[in-house]
């Protein structure tokens, strides 16, 4: 019985950790956040959670319906399997009232069916793939969809940049990338543009060598390249493309919008490309400027789109909690889905019947000093 006492201690500790959320949930409103705090898209998760915490801080130490708000952050490492596990853990063990998250659409898509089945509202602040909210009536989002984003970029390429021949490079491991590419392709062809290759050029998440791929792209002589990927791979693709004398502009989506992109692509790679995104810290709206100022004060850097989206997402959720008839999940979902004309830093958010937000997008030009506001597009 040498380990007797230790074992008892361990078991009692385990019991405490397992049971504590049960009694805690009676006195608080628990919100679970599922975000990539580590892994290849870690800056997104970190920025989102910074935004969420800033939103909680803004409303202060309030209590809604006599209960305090408690936030539990789970790391999904940017992986679908981990996302599903995190959502399951939050619902079954922590008994959360609602889940906020995640960023990458493939991650949210993995967790959404679990929340839907358990009838716990899940609000994603940043996943833009069309399929996400189709999971069911408990799943909604406070950002625009790829249907909108892809159309914006296709029109920008055709009308503003006057490009006619596009090559499309997709991240084969991402639902977001594939979805966005499909929408872009359709709209660009509808406008009268051409694809240089019927088959998309493809890579995988975590690849680091794109030279063979880019060689094939270069030979097709496109005048613009659409690259709806995430910043880790995009940064390297841009760097390697410029080294190989591929000079045409690359276009991307909100997946590029991270301060890491500038660093990874290098000064030569970053120049002369355009992305669509949710938010620009250069927006002169006083509400945006107040948010930017507060964010810089705490985190010592300018907020990216994910920070703004996390901030807005959390504010919408808190607003819904206040408006909901009761804390029953059905009432809460109803309150979230009936959000109308909510003024956020990423635009005015109204959630439509498909539980998607209709709001404006911005087109940014990427430069070595950060992304510069180019134009704003309304739905």
């Amino acid at each position: 019985m040498r380990y007797g006492r230790l074992t008892t201690l361990c078991i009692s500790l385990l019991m405490m950790t397992l049971t504590s959320p049960l009694w805690a949930s009676k006195k608080t409103i628990t919100i679970g956040a599922v975000f990539p705090m580590t892994g290849p898209i870690a800056t997104y998760g970190q920025e989102s959670v910074n935004g969420i915490n800033l939103a909680l801080k803004k409303v202060g130490d309030i209590s809604i319906k006599g209960r305090k708000i408690r936030l539990i952050v789970e790391d999904n490492k940017g992986e679908p399997i981990e996302s599903a596990n995190s959502v399951r853990k939050l619902i079954n063990i922590d008994k959360v009232n609602a889940v906020i998250g995640s960023v990458a659409s493939s991650n949210t898509l993995a967790g959404a069916p679990i929340a839907q089945q358990a009838e716990v509202p899940l609000l994603t602040p940043a996943s833009t793939n069309e399929a996400v909210t189709k999971t069911g009536n408990f799943i909604s989002r406070t950002c625009f969809t790829d249907g909108f984003q892809g159309v914006v970029m296709a029109r920008f390429a055709f009308n503003n940049l006057k490009k006619r021949n596009v090559a499309i490079i997709i991240d084969n491991s991402s639902d977001y990338s594939k979805g966005l590419a499909a929408v872009f392709k359709k709209e660009f062809q509808r406008l009268g543009g051409k694809l240089v290759s019927q088959r998309d050029f493809a890579y995988q998440q975590k690849d680091i060598d794109f030279k063979s791929l880019l060689r094939k792209v270069k030979r097709k002589r496109p005048d613009v390249i659409f690259l709806p990927g995430y910043y880790t791979e995009v940064g390297l693709i841009l760097r390697q493309a410029r080294q190989m004398n591929i000079k045409m502009p690359f276009l991307g989506g909100d997946g590029w919008d991270s301060p890491k992109l500038q660093e990874l692509a290098g000064p030569k790679g970053i120049k002369n490309n355009y992305i669509s995104s949710h938010f620009s810290p250069d927006d002169q709206d006083p509400m945006v400027q107040e948010f930017v100022k507060k964010y810089i004060k705490i985190h010592k850097q300018r907020p990216g789109a994910m920070a703004a989206l996390g901030y807005d997402g959390m504010l919408v959720l808190l607003d819904a909690l206040k408006r909901a008839k009761s804390l029953k999940s059905k009432d809460l979902a109803l309150a979230i889905n009936s959000t109308k004309q909510f003024k956020g830093v990423t635009g005015t958010i109204s959630i439509d019947r498909q539980r998607n937000a209709t709001k404006s997008a911005v087109v940014l030009e990427t430069t070595a000093k950060g992304n510069i506001f180019n134009t704003k597009v309304n739905p």
Binding site: P40, T43, Y203, D209, K211, S212, L213, R215, T232
Partner: protein, 299 residues
């Protein structure tokens, strides 16, 4: 010659150049796998992490102003020292507990370093400063950069040094003796613990060198960077014949070239599938690897 055929040969040449570069990296990592396996029959799945550690040691030295001439050997030394400590703390106590225990400890060590890295330096990729300015030499449609040349030459030099170390020095002779028969070597008065530590050191130092070279080549490093190359290097070691030093070098090169040809002429989606497919085929057809001899295991 028509244009298409010309393009084909240019492509082939380019994929070979890229393949040899990547293969050199795999080979450097695979050498450590094979040496450790050769001496204590342990598949050290933590080996990819030594490569990551080397890259980070190099990175922190370079950004704090050290020249590459200091950062590069220091990275090798750093990775080597960590490996020796791990061997002493993790593998030595369970050396006689069977191979499964050692294998699982190796996996645990690997995860430990991956998450320690994410916890301390952060999970986001770091940009390795471009200390050597990249210059490309073009020939028709083929391109080779000065960094690729540096990688290939460094790999060759390190391999020659290793060859000399193993075949012409006293400690190399002792390594071969321990690998051949551990107990007999001990009876002959060889300090086997010291030799095993030294083997870990050399293997990890080579991986650390590979880490810095990759940092220079792709300009990006992150704590999980050791995972895939570690597994690929394991495939390379098995491909060449695990435990056989020239086999690891050959296996690395073959794997690097095959991967680049698959990505280039076919599609990058199949690259990893092909790499691990090779592992399965080798294990089925010639389990001792390309350079291995078929020896019946003594019962």
């Amino acid at each position: 010659m028509n244009e298409e055929l010309l393009y084909f040969f240019y492509d082939l040449g380019q994929y070979l150049i890229n393949g040899i570069t990547q293969g050199s990296i795999y080979a450097l990592i695979a050498l450590g796998y094979t040496m450790v396996y050769g001496i204590i029959k342990l598949i050290n799945f933590a080996h990819g992490e030594f490569y990551m550690i080397g890259a980070f040691v190099g990175y922190y030295l370079v950004i704090s102003g050290a020249s590459l001439w200091i950062a590069f050997p220091a990275a090798m030394l750093g990775a080597g020292v960590v490996a020796v400590i791990i061997e002493r703390l993790v593998y030595r106590p369970i050396r006689h507990a069977g191979r499964i225990a050692a294998l699982i400890s190796a996996l645990g060590t690997s995860l430990f370093f991956q998450y320690l890295g994410q916890g301390t330096v952060g999970a986001d990729p770091k940009t390795f400063p471009p200390v050597i300015e990249e210059i490309s030499y073009e020939w028709g449609e083929m391109m080779i950069s000065n960094i690729q040349i540096i990688i290939i030459i460094t790999t060759i030099v390190l391999m020659l040094v290793l060859r000399w170390l193993v075949s012409s020095t006293r400690i190399g002779m002792a390594m071969r003796a321990v690998s051949f028969n551990h107990d007999a070597a001990e009876l002959m008065g060889i300090d086997t613990n010291k030799i095993i530590s030294f083997t870990f050191f050399v293997g990890a130092a080579l991986a650390g060198a590979a880490g810095v070279l990759v940092g220079l080549y792709y300009n990006t490093i992150e704590p999980m960077m050791g995972l895939m190359p570690g597994l690929k290097a394991f495939v390379a070691a098995v491909l060449g014949g695990i435990g056989i030093i020239p086999g690891a070098a050959l296996g690395g090169l073959v794997l690097g070239i095959v991967e680049n040809l698959v990505t280039g002429f076919w599609a990058s989606n199949y690259r990893d599938a092909i790499a691990f497919g090779i592992l399965i085929i080798i294990l089925l057809i010639k389990p001792t690897g390309l350079m291995g001899k078929n020896i019946r295991e003594k019962v």
